[in-house]
Symmetry: C2
Amino acid sequence: MFGIGALRFGRFTLASGRPSSYYLDLRVVPSHPEAYEVEIQAYKSVVKSLGEERFDVVAGIATAGVTVSSVLAFVLKKPMVYVRKEEKGYGLSKLVEGAVRPGWRALVVDDVITDGGSKIPAVEALRKAGCVVSDVVVLVDRLEGGAARLAAAGTKLAAYADVKELADILLERGRLTKGDYEAVVKQVEGAKA
Amino acid sequence: MFGIGALRFGRFTLASGRPSSYYLDLRVVPSHPEAYEVEIQAYKSVVKSLGEERFDVVAGIATAGVTVSSVLAFVLKKPMVYVRKEEKGYGLSKLVEGAVRPGWRALVVDDVITDGGSKIPAVEALRKAGCVVSDVVVLVDRLEGGAARLAAAGTKLAAYADVKELADILLERGRLTKGDYEAVVKQVEGAKA
């Protein structure tokens, strides 16, 4: 997963406007068929642990989350909808795209969670559309407050891994310099402050 | 495909700003697992007719095209990238998301084509990223000038079906009123004028 340039170091600005010493770009995963397969299997294992039967629909958050939710829904043979960031000005304007049925229990899917800033509007949009939303699944939790923010919104975060676990493994395998490892730790610590 | 509310009649405004007497919303397809399966098989048949070996990467146009390109790339075990409509202001700003390799022959994928207005910028962005783009595949061609516009940009349109063919079948099967059928014909004729 990390031999494909998904993790980079430098100075980045997150969607929230906060700075970050690293950037986790899981959008490159689908460009590597073997990594994509591994990624989908990882999501499947999380869904299995949550209980596949607890969900009626897989809801991806546009756009990165849609590359996951599409395949996940397809292989699980479950309905899929996706949540836009903003309403389009044309066609049938709506935030949730797809044929949502009121009462559907939605599993929200995205690639990464940082502070939860982009997840909350998606959860709210799905609820407004009549869905019951109790769980959000991501591949990686950046450990910057996302889980707490989701909990406050009545949803539970399920992450396949968190960035500290990944950094530990990469450091151990010699795939991360000590300096880059510290950059990740510092970012996580900084979010707690 | 049309028992799921994908085709609606009324007054709509297309992305181009032009009015339309019908709206073809293929975004509902992934909400119906059986229809989604049929849809992907349809795309696969088009790709097969074009020659699967002619393409190195499947490039979806965000966001509807990504629900197709993700699964298509996954089942074909080919790399996938996607093209955004606008650059994000954060993270690693770019129009083409994924690990593009210069020289890759890209197959552009979207759900529908009208006048080609949203396809051309995607083709240009992929070319700017170093891809060779010769073909665009969609499920439905609305017959409003898209093929000609793509041809002018040096690309060839491959559509699984066009809206006139669909309307003919639906009328024959009694799934479309004569009035709705005429609305489709009028829209297509209007685009030629």
